[in-house]
Symmetry: C2
Subunit: 285 residues, 2 copies
């Protein structure tokens, strides 16, 4: 953490799920490590945009020449209205679309259900040089899967292990895995759903099922707690990001990406052709 | 064309390929319909960003609720360095990534070559509510395919017809098809290739094959001319956009998209649930 002086403490350390983590002890309205409000947060986000864009271009460049196969996978999980879409739009939207591989996982289709739960996930693994973003993910299969008993308990148990094996494969192949849960309070969620009902231009974002899910909030928090305990690993850590303040959650995710890219010590790839020879050819063309 | 007063004449009319069009009569350095320079062009592009983003959100919303299946397909074709990547970054980059489906078509794989040339293309058709962007496309199969004799002349002939049939299918299914050729001069291309060779941070964008292609420039222009004559249809028109000035080409493509979206007369979809009933449920939750 050295790229941004607006942090009073590194949110990566503050928000990473570690030993003894308890979701119910996290305040969704807090903004740990950032000593400012919405305006300062927006300025900090704007300042990070060219930095993230430059680093992303270097990551992409290395995959096109020089054979660097490293990549990033950002997993976004959250209850409805917590702001996944806003992260995609305001954090990822600042990056060259050519370098972003976005996959939104909805309710599985019949065909997907006829396969192992990781089948549809593996098809969306980001390629070399890409930043992959999962808007919901394989974690749904141990979240809604558990809360709504869509699979027997033994199968849910098996999935935690399968997820760890899968994520180890990813990291071994050069993928930096960053798992984010956006955490909002029941009150803030109510206010956001209310806005979707009050504004005709937001109706399309509302689904009656959102309230059914909301009523199961306590059970979802238990399922998240269990998922953290079983799948927070040093190589594929979880970050629980307070998300009642959208500006804070966006800033943290941008920071996580910038930090991951900086740790890669990216360099522009060396030409795999003779530059002088090509200059001569070009001059003669 | 009513959304932007900075045009002195509608570039859609000026740049659309019509009866008797001749590529060799187009000046790649011109900026038809725009009475200003780079700074004014950049301001106009910035002014269009929220407009395009809002329209795209409406298009997307209609597909999520209300069953509107309309969509857009933007086909980008050009010689190397003409600025396809810049269009993706600066025009499409301003749109919510969730609503953009980008497909870059490279040299076909063995598997792709074992199928009809449209096989890999059809797999990337944009879904309802999406703006699809093809960075290169099925037109490669009548461009490089013709210039380098990758297929017999009779097969190239067949492809023009197959393309027309394919694009009629797309438009019949509610896809607005916009085909753009970015047209740069040989001198401007030389300068851009020179920059890629001069700057180590641009080397990854250079490929010695780019000069081989450049040497075939006249043959490519003939192949484009033939493609325009065979595939410029009222429903799937071609636009040849002078692209020596990057700001102009970006502004035109943004304008084409805004215009296409405005013609759809999009509206926020009506709620497919009882809003008052859901408000009561939310209040009780």
């Amino acid at each position: 953490m050295n790229h941004a002086s607006h942090w009073t403490a590194d949110p990566i350390e503050l928000l990473r799920v570690g030993e003894g983590f308890r979701l119910d002890e996290v305040d969704p309205g807090a903004h740990p490590g950032f000593d400012g409000g919405k305006a300062q947060g927006a300025r900090a986000l704007a300042a990070g945009i060219p930095k993230l864009a430059d680093l992303q271009e270097q990551l992409f460049a290395g995959s096109r020449m020089g054979g660097d196969t490293r990549r990033i996978l950002l997993v976004l999980q959250a209850m409805d209205t917590a702001g996944k879409g806003g992260i995609v739009k305001h954090v990822m939207g600042a990056v060259d679309p050519q370098g972003v591989q976005l996959a939104a996982f909805k309710k599985p289709t019949e065909e997907e259900l006829a396969h192992d739960f990781l089948w549809r996930i593996r098809k969306e693994e980001p390629g070399p040089g890409m930043i992959g973003v999962f808007d919901r993910s394989h974690y749904e299969d141990v979240l809604i899967g558990r809360v709504r008993s869509l699979a027997p308990p033994a199968e849910i148990e098996r999935r935690y292990d399968a997820i760890n094996v899968f994520e180890r494969e990813l990291t071994a192949a050069g993928t930096t895995v960053i798992k984010v849960m956006l955490h909002i309070s029941a009150d803030e969620q109510k206010a956001r759903l209310q806005e979707r009902l009050d504004r005709p231009d937001k109706h399309w974002k509302f689904n009656p099922g959102d309230i059914d899910e909301r009523l199961l909030g306590a059970k979802y928090r238990e399922a998240y707690q269990a998922a953290f305990e079983r799948t927070a690993t040093p190589d594929a850590p979880w970050y629980v990001v307070p998300a009642d303040r959208k500006w804070y959650a966006r800033l943290v995710v941008q920071h996580l990406l910038i930090d991951a890219l900086e740790r890669m010590r990216l360099e522009w790839p060396k030409a795999d052709f003779d530059v002088e020879e090509q200059k001569a050819r070009l001059a003669a063309s």
